[in-house]
């Protein structure tokens, strides 16, 4: 058995015994905490980005200032942003600061993809919709957003993968999640904890990437089938 071999080779570097005994109590809650941080952040960011993206696609003049602000947020180093947020009265240490930070990192990608997705709808499709008597909100909900959805999901994919990565830094401000595991491991000089946290974060990021990629494909049955057309 490879586990036994590894264990006997490097007993104090990676402690399989510890992992087996503490997985449910220490590792699993951290995984759940990490997923919570990531998905709540992307969810909140999406709730902000969808209406804002639609607004920008209607009022083009807003695009430059919106890109400027969200682009600025995106460039702040994550550790610095978390540190600043922790000092804000009413936020302090914990998941709230991390979530605010993660939301602000997601905005740029999400808003840009919402706008790009809506822009990618052919003008004649919209003209035909209007000419047949769809109202503006029907055009948005039945034509523009469904057609933009694959591009929006692509944005969600990038945002999610990025956020799962950055959320690790949240461990530094006691936000919970896998970062907590890693920082504890460093503090306690216990490599098993560090490696488990890092590995699980990687697995989460890759799984989210693949799952959302599949979803993205699934969102456009019309394009999948068209390839088979003669």
């Amino acid at each position: 058995m490879p586990t036994v071999a590894l264990q006997s080779l490097q007993p104090e570097f990676f402690d399989w015994e510890w992992l087996r005994e503490n997985f449910l109590e220490e590792v699993w809650p951290a995984v759940i905490g990490h997923l919570y941080l990531s998905f709540v952040s992307v969810g909140i960011a999406l709730v902000i980005s969808l209406p804002l993206g639609v607004l920008v696609s209607r009022f083009r003049r807003l695009y430059t200032p919106v890109l400027f602000v969200t682009g600025f947020l995106f460039t702040i180093p994550s550790l610095a942003l978390f540190a600043i947020l922790v000092t804000v009265p009413g936020i302090g240490i914990g998941p709230t600061a991390a979530i605010i930070g993660l939301v602000s990192y997601s905005l740029l990608v999400l808003i840009r993809n919402v706008v790009t997705g809506i822009d990618s709808v052919a003008p004649e499709t919209i003209d035909a919709a209007r000419g047949m008597g769809l109202t503006n909100s029907q055009i948005l909900l039945r034509v523009e957003l469904p057609l933009a959805l694959p591009v929006i999901v692509a944005g969600i994919r990038i945002a999610t993968v990025t956020v799962i990565g950055i959320a690790v830094i949240g461990g530094f401000i006691s936000a919970g999640g896998l970062g907590q595991l890693i920082f504890d491991g460093i503090d306690r000089n216990f490599p098993t904890l560090v490696l488990t946290g890092a590995l699980m974060a990687t697995v989460l990021a890759i799984s989210a990437d693949v799952a959302l990629l599949v979803l993205e494909r699934y969102m456009r049955p019309w394009a999948r089938r068209a390839r088979g057309a003669n």
Binding site: A122, E124, T125, I126, D127, A128, A129, R130, G131, M132, G133, L134, T135, Q138, V143, P146, L147, R220, P221, W222, A223, R225, A226, G228, A229
Partner: protein, 318 residues
């Protein structure tokens, strides 16, 4: 009936109108073709009927009521709309595309379904084969058929068609035109049809409105009258120097009072009664014959002489 009353359109920031004091009537059940060079405002004029564009001056009456008597979206649901770029919804199946307007105006599912099948049959696409396909799986010609079917879906009395057969090759276009004329014979919609192609205008129109640059109506009449009596140099150059031949193309051999078949028909060209006079003339000149025999199926209907055609075209040039 659609009536343009002194309709003008000037875009903000521009001095020159794109449509200028347009006044004419499209009688019920007729096809009115708006034709002219690019920049003549023909598409703009059409789009003012269903208020995709609002006129700056004047009004458009539909059956005596100004088209502003209801909201734009209400109005547009009652007017079929087909455009050159088709604009099918790529994410909706063919039957969902066709069912768009019926769905908007609240038809029951069963009714939409049977109407969709009926329309697919009407435009010559097998419902079982095409109903659940996506637009991208269809050829250009098939997509244009769906575009027209979708415009007719809720059985609107009025239809607007902006070069609806413009995105296909000439052979397919001619076939679609024929099919559509055949359908129109039965459904008798009031249609505003936009094209830049005078031949298409002559083929499709009960009336033709020729527009010139700046959106000015140059002439409004039947194809026959426009070809026989163009009212200006602009119109006669727009319809082309072959207008006599174009006029002959409007008449079928079988519609004439033919001379009784006489003498020896040996070696004379035999023409179908469905052939246009233009094609008949071409056949006779090609065969070097003064006289031809007109047949329907196997039986001889009568004979046609070059003199008869000459007399008819003589009228055209006066």
């Amino acid at each position: 009936m659609i009536e343009f009353r002194g309709v003008s359109k000037t875009y903000p920031g521009s001095e020159r109108p794109v449509v200028n004091e347009l006044s004419f009537e499209v009688p019920e059940g007729e096809v009115c073709v708006l034709v002219g060079p690019s920049g003549c405002g023909k598409t703009t004029s059409m789009r003012m009927v269903n208020r995709l564009i609002e006129p700056s001056e004047g009004q458009i009456l539909i059956n005596g009521e100004p088209n502003t008597s209801m909201s734009g979206t209400q109005l547009r649901r009652k007017i079929g709309y087909a455009i050159q770029q088709i604009g099918l919804f790529p994410h909706r199946t063919i039957s969902e595309n066709i069912g768009t307007v019926p769905g908007l105006v609240g038809w029951q599912k069963d009714r939409i379904k049977s109407r969709t099948e009926e329309l697919l049959d009407l435009v010559g696409l097998d419902p079982d084969n095409y109903r659940d396909r996506y637009p991208a799986e269809l050829s250009g010609g098939q997509q244009q058929r769906i575009g027209v079917a979708r415009a007719m879906a809720a059985d609107p009395p009025i239809m607007l068609m902006d070069e609806p057969f413009g995105a296909v090759d000439p052979i397919t276009r001619e076939r679609l035109q024929d099919e559509f004329l055949h359908i129109q014979d039965n459904i008798k919609k009031t249609i505003v049809f936009v094209t830049h192609d005078i031949d298409e205008a002559i083929r499709m129109g009960d009336k033709i409105a020729i527009l010139k640059e700046g959106g000015i109506l140059a002439q409004y009449n039947t194809p026959e009258n426009i070809l026989s009596a163009p009212n200006s140099d602009f119109v006669s150059s727009f319809v082309g120097s072959d207008r006599v031949l174009k006029r002959l193309s409007l008449t079928r051999v079988g519609d004439l009072d033919l001379e009784p078949p006489n003498g020896n028909a040996e070696g004379l060209p035999r023409l179908s009664n469905q052939m246009s006079l233009k094609d008949a003339l071409s056949e006779m000149i090609g065969a070097g014959a003064e006289r031809s025999v007109v047949v329907s199926g196997g039986s001889v209907l009568g004979s046609l002489t070059l003199d008869t055609i000459r007399q008819l075209s003589g009228k055209a040039t006066k």
